[in-house]
């Protein structure tokens, strides 16, 4: 946590509707800790049934690396498993760029210091092309200014992030501390809550 700017190469994954079952299949959800999910990130796209790496999958291609994952529209749809955000973070990514994120995944990412950056379709298309053509191409993200830049083309775009969540990411602020700071409000609410 606590990052404000990042400049990195990126890994392109030009597929739409990537669901959380692809990010981390259910059979790997048996762990009771938050660590180690990166080993099984995109498990069935990354490894064959004999656990051998599939050469044609981008995470097995040494050409591409970096802290930014660039993916197609509607990233993270499906199950609410936070393990998906844990797996992406654990693998080493700090930012996911897409033109659209599923709600629950977006929230889970922000709660784990993984930044979902939602950009326009044209910006994503250009970024995907840049990265696919030139694995050394860099992306820079400025959380404070809410901008993302395709360094090669110089094109920038602003992205939106909830002001509270931004503060959490920058200052390492904690949701539970925040809610419990208003514990008196909760108890006051409970005294007048509708129950039967």
């Amino acid at each position: 946590m606590g990052f404000t700017t990042l400049k990195s190469t990126a890994v392109p994954l030009p597929i739409e509707n990537i669901d959380t079952d692809q990010i981390i299949p259910a059979r790997f959800l048996k762990a009771t800790t938050r660590e180690g999910f990166g080993d099984n990130l995109f498990r069935d796209w990354r490894f064959d049934s004999n656990d051998q790496p599939k050469a044609d999958f981008v995470l097995n291609d040494d050409t591409f690396s970096g802290k930014v994952l660039v993916a197609g529209k509607n990233f993270g749809c499906g199950s609410s498993r936070e393990h998906a955000a844990w797996a992406i973070k654990d693998y080493g990514f700090a930012v996911v760029v897409s033109s659209f994120f599923a709600d629950i995944f977006k929230g889970n990412s922000l709660n784990n210091g993984l930044l979902p950056v939602q950009v326009s379709e044209p910006f994503l298309a250009e970024l995907m092309e840049t990265v696919e053509k030139d694995p050394a191409a860099e992306i820079s993200v400025d959380l404070e200014a809410e901008t993302i830049t395709n360094v090669s083309t110089g094109n920038s775009e602003t992205f939106e992030i909830n002001a509270y969540k931004k503060m959490c990411l920058i200052k390492g602020y904690d949701d539970i501390d925040y809610i419990l700071s208003g514990k008196a409000d909760i108890e006051a609410f409970e005294s007048k809550r509708v129950t039967f």
């Binding site: 669901d19 259910a26 762990a31 009771t32 800790t33 629950i104 002001a163 509270y164």
Partner: protein, 465 residues
């Protein structure tokens, strides 16, 4: 001033505090937890030295990662056994009621909540599971959350949540023969796509919705997340009250009268304004089936797979059809299948089992097809046995299993082998969802029963009077 929607009424009555630029602090009436998405949350509480804030408003069960045979024996698989054991320890330590494996109230969390009367109109409910939207059928705000949020609710009984936009989906008219709630929701998802509802909370309305039973309404609300909507809800009415009345945790006596009077104030006002409205005709809906790898890739059973990409790029469509071993313009009717799964939080309730039993009575499953029927809870299982449905299933050659999420997500041993076709009443046809390489066709319980009997994808309308 415009009136309020059902969603707004329930949301506003649960806001503890609201600050500009901050998400609302939303009070949660009921928190359901299960073994897979809670252990890290309890660990978080321990690290913080916090108790569960309102344990009596928290209910736990083991459902996702449990075997569906020999539930009286220790779980064979080590990691699964450890995960369920961890839930036991956490619930004991933090004082949370657990409906453990073997308990008469155990079952899929979204089946037992309504069945026990824990789920009631006007409530806010969350669970670390995206299909929590199921409970919206009662006119409550119910949605899935991640594990950090499970920890948040355990610690505070509240959730930081930005208010979503509202969408009204109306389905008017009369459903045709062999068409039910599952077909309605699959149809809607096909029309709006797997991302079409993202950012919205849906209210389902219209004569085709209000004429449905509570269990059918649950099937509709259950799949709201499959179009990206955080939740779906249906206004409480006499059907709702009739269902809730007399259930174990439902209000009784004078409290019941007060509750009903309050619940009657919840339906959306006639002049309420929604951010978006979609209207469909029940007559346009036929028995529905998915052909691709997200629930938005669906069609009527009499139709052929489109040759243009729907809800994705051409490349995605090619990838999906290659995974499914299908081609554009191909009809699915007559396609041989290998497995049938009847179960999941979408379709494992007693009405689903009754409907299937009525159809398969005096029929046999096709040779070479494996049919798993998995009741949603111990309560459903007991009811099915009492009604003699178990005998109908076994004499048809179906395997009646014990309650759990089972082959919907294949966390336990109930996996469909790679390359095999499974006709399933569950909610997701994602790649590998039912097992690595498994190919899923999502359908209604009746369509699944038809496929079980013929061994191929069949049009239920041609098989019933």
């Amino acid at each position: 001033m415009a009136g309020k929607t059902l969603f707004e009424k329930v949301w506003e009555s649960h806001v503890v505090s609201s600050k500009p630029g901050f998400p609302d602090v939303l009070y949660i009436d009921r928190h359901y937890i299960h073994e897979v998405t809670s252990p890290q949350a309890f660990d978080g509480l321990r690290k913080r030295g916090l108790p569960v804030f309102r344990p009596e408003q928290t209910s736990a069960t083991a459902d996702h990662n449990v075997p569906t045979i020999n539930q009286h024996l220790p779980i064979k698989e080590e990691l699964s056994r450890f995960q369920v054991q961890k839930l036991r320890e956490n619930c004991a330590e933090f004082g949370v009621e657990l409906y453990d494996l073997g308990h008469e109230k155990q079952g899929i969390v979204h089946v037992i909540g309504p069945d026990l009367g824990l789920t009631q109109p006007g409530m806010t409910m969350v669970c670390g599971d995206s299909h929590t939207s199921t409970h919206g059928a009662f006119g409550s705000i119910a949605f899935g959350i991640g594990t950090s949020q499970v920890e948040q609710v355990l610690a505070t009984q509240c959730l930081l949540q930005a208010k979503p936009k509202t969408m009204r989906i109306e389905v008017n008219g009369t459903l045709g023969k062999g068409v039910g709630a599952k077909d309605i929701i699959l149809y809607i998802i096909t029309q709006l796509s797997a991302a079409g509802g993202t950012g919205y909370f849906v209210e389902y309305a219209g004569s085709a919705i209000t004429s449905l039973s509570m269990e059918a309404r649950m099937t509709i609300c259950n799949m709201s997340i499959e179009m990206g909507a955080r939740g779906g809800m249906i206004a409480p009415d006499e059907t709702t009250f009739e269902y809730v009345k007399g259930r174990e945790f439902a209000p009784k006596g004078e409290a019941w009268e007060k509750a009903v009077a309050y619940w009657k104030t919840l339906p959306s006002d006639a002049d309420a304004v929604y951010d978006r409205v979609e209207v469909f005709n029940a007559e346009d809906i036929e028995p529905w089936i998915t052909y691709g790898t997200n629930p938005g890739m669906g069609m009527g059973v009499s139709q052929s797979i489109p040759d243009v990409a729907i809800g994705g790029t051409a490349k995605d469509m090619t990838k999906a059809l290659a995974y499914m071993g299908l081609d554009p313009n191909q009809a699915l009717k007559g396609k041989k299948i290998d497995y049938v799964f009847i179960g999941s939080c979408t379709n494992s309730r007693i009405e689903d089992l009754r409907e299937v039993a009525e159809f398969v009575k005096d029929k046999k499953k096709a040779d070479g097809v494996n049919v798993w029927i998995v009741p949603g809870s111990k309560g459903v299982e007991a009811q099915a046995i009492e009604e003699g449905l178990d005998k109908v299933f076994t004499s048809a050659g179906f395997e009646l299993r014990q309650p759990g999420c089972s082959a919907c997500l294949g966390m336990n041993e109930d996996k469909v082998p790679a390359g095999k076709y499974c006709v399933s009443t569950s909610n997701r046809n994602f790649e590998g969802r039912q097992g690595p390489g498994a190919r899923t066709f999502l359908v209604s319980p009746l369509m699944a029963a038809a496929a079980a009997v013929t061994g191929e994808i069949s049009d239920i309308r041609e098989m019933i009077a």
